[in-house]
Amino acid sequence: MKSDLELTNQIEAYLRGELSSAEQAEFDQLRASNPDIDHKVVEHQNFTKQLSEYGNRRQLAANMDAIHQQLDIIGLKDEVLPKTVQIRNLWKKYRVNTAIAASIAMIAVLSTMLSTGYFSKTISTNYSALRREINNIKRSQNALIKNINNKPVKGPSDPGHFGGTGFALSSNGYVVTNYHVIKDADSVYIQNTKGESFKVKQVYVDPAYDIAVLQIVDPNFKTLPSLPYSFKKATSDLGENVYTIGFPRDDQVIGKGYLSSRTGYDGDSVAYQVDIPVNPGNSGGPLLDNRGNIIGIISGKQTQSDGAAFAIKSKYLLKALEAIPKDLLEDKLVLNKKNTLSNLSPTDQIKKLQDYIFMVKVY
């Protein structure tokens, strides 16, 4: 044991070159003469070599781990994964082109839309409100004043600037017409079939439903007999025969037709579409069914198609009337609920009706 320890120490010293040259030569000789010792030297040398290789490898692994810690693995992954690399490169390469192409496409689309009038398509182009512009006789203010000065008349003889139609809501002088007929008016008069004019004042307007409620304030006005027609609350059926009475000229004109759609211009659910001949001046006229119920108010027509007139549903007229604040009404507004027309022939109905339909003259 002791000798083995010493021998090992000696071998180690020999292998590490710690021996003096004399000792080294002596040990070489020993190795040459004693194969047992030589074997031990080789064995020891191999074993220590393995040990140091083990150490080197561990050191190398530790070094690499340290380097690996510094790497941005997620970034590297992004870089090396083929698909992402490709897309990224494509995007980087072509994003300017893409942006330009997109802008050109946008400009092309917008300019096409602009040139074909896509943006200017509004109700006003196709929809014409049917108030009549009365410009055949133009009079100066002076003439008007002269007229008034010369003879005290029941109403001004001036035909007014615009005309429309209106009809009585109640016997005590409430009249309804379209808002667009009387808008911007200085003063409004109505004229019955006998040619009598009465001054009216605006009581209430509802621009959304295009409804205006007027009240006759003329001292010459006498209460009307009770109304022969009533107002229909429900929506009427398609294909129902309807007629209207209006003032497209200075005299009453009857128009007959049928209900062609439950919605008005551009899908407007407030109105019906009616296939009925109407002209400027018909606005505000009543739309009646065969039994003499008011089912709407004529308000306009489509300019570019035939037989498409529009009438505001009576349901919305009633809604508008309900919305009138009580203190705006000087007299009570009581709607007639009794219909005395239902069993009469059309001509008799019209005869009874005509006194309740007025030409609206707007100054």
């Binding site: 320890l5 090992t8 120490n9 074993f47 220590t48 393995q50 040990l51 140091s52 290789e53 083990y54 150490g55 080197n56 490898r57 190398l60 692994a61 070094n63 690499m64 781990d65 380097i67 690996h68 790497l71 693995i73 590297l76 992954k77 870089e79 090396v80 994964l81 083929p82």
Partner: protein, 195 residues
């Protein structure tokens, strides 16, 4: 963020000299230059980044052993060598885990590295044996052995570190440790051989 001056890919000759001189800087450049290639290979063939790390580090060890043995001829490109080793290692690992191999998606040329890998396997076995034997050895023997034979510390230093009164005592202790280590190492070896 300005990236630190990205160490350009070192030439193969630089790498070989760096390895021979145990240059840490060269290891760093080598690692950063070639790891992405291996990461790509492994990620696109059913692996994750940890697999890539293991495979790549193993290939670097193969390279080191080969260069230190004086066998790395400069007629094969270093990149090709690393790629080929990693490819083989990864295929082997995939088949061991009986994961689907299918067609390997290759990104580089590769060459046959069977001989290197055989040697590597042998060395790897020895490394694991040594690791196991050292683990069995326990303290303080392990530290003494590591200090003396791996760190190449002098007996004087070891004496002071462990508080031996004289170098002879330390030498005796070291001798006993070495004998035990050999015993563990070869016993393990024999067991393996008998199996």
């Amino acid at each position: 963020m300005s990236k630190e001056i990205k160490s350009s890919v070192p030439t193969d000759r630089e790498v070989v000299f760096g390895i021979l001189n145990d240059s840490k800087d060269m290891l760093n450049r080598l690692y950063k230059s070639y790891f992405p290639m291996v990461l790509q290979l492994v990620l696109t063939n059913n692996g994750n980044e940890d697999d890539a790390k293991d495979i790549f580090q193993e290939s670097v060890i193969v390279l080191y052993n080969r260069v230190k043995a004086g066998k790395f001829e400069l007629n094969s490109k270093l990149k090709t060598f690393i790629y080929s080793v990693c490819r083989r290692l990864w295929l082997k690992r995939l088949s061991q885990q009986s994961r689907n191999i299918g067609n390997v998606k290759d990104f580089e040329d590769f060459l046959s590295v069977d001989e290197d890998l055989e040697q590597h396997e042998e060395k790897d076995k020895q490394f694991k044996q040594m690791e196991h034997a050292l683990k069995l050895l326990g303290e303080p023997c392990r530290t003494i052995i590591e200090d003396y034979y791996i760190q190449n510390r002098s007996m004087q230093e070891i004496c002071e570190k462990f508080g031996y009164t004289n170098a002879d005592n330390a030498k005796t202790q070291k001798y006993k440790c070495l004998q035990r280590l050999k015993k563990y190492f070869f016993r393990h070896n024999n067991l393996k051989n008998e199996e």
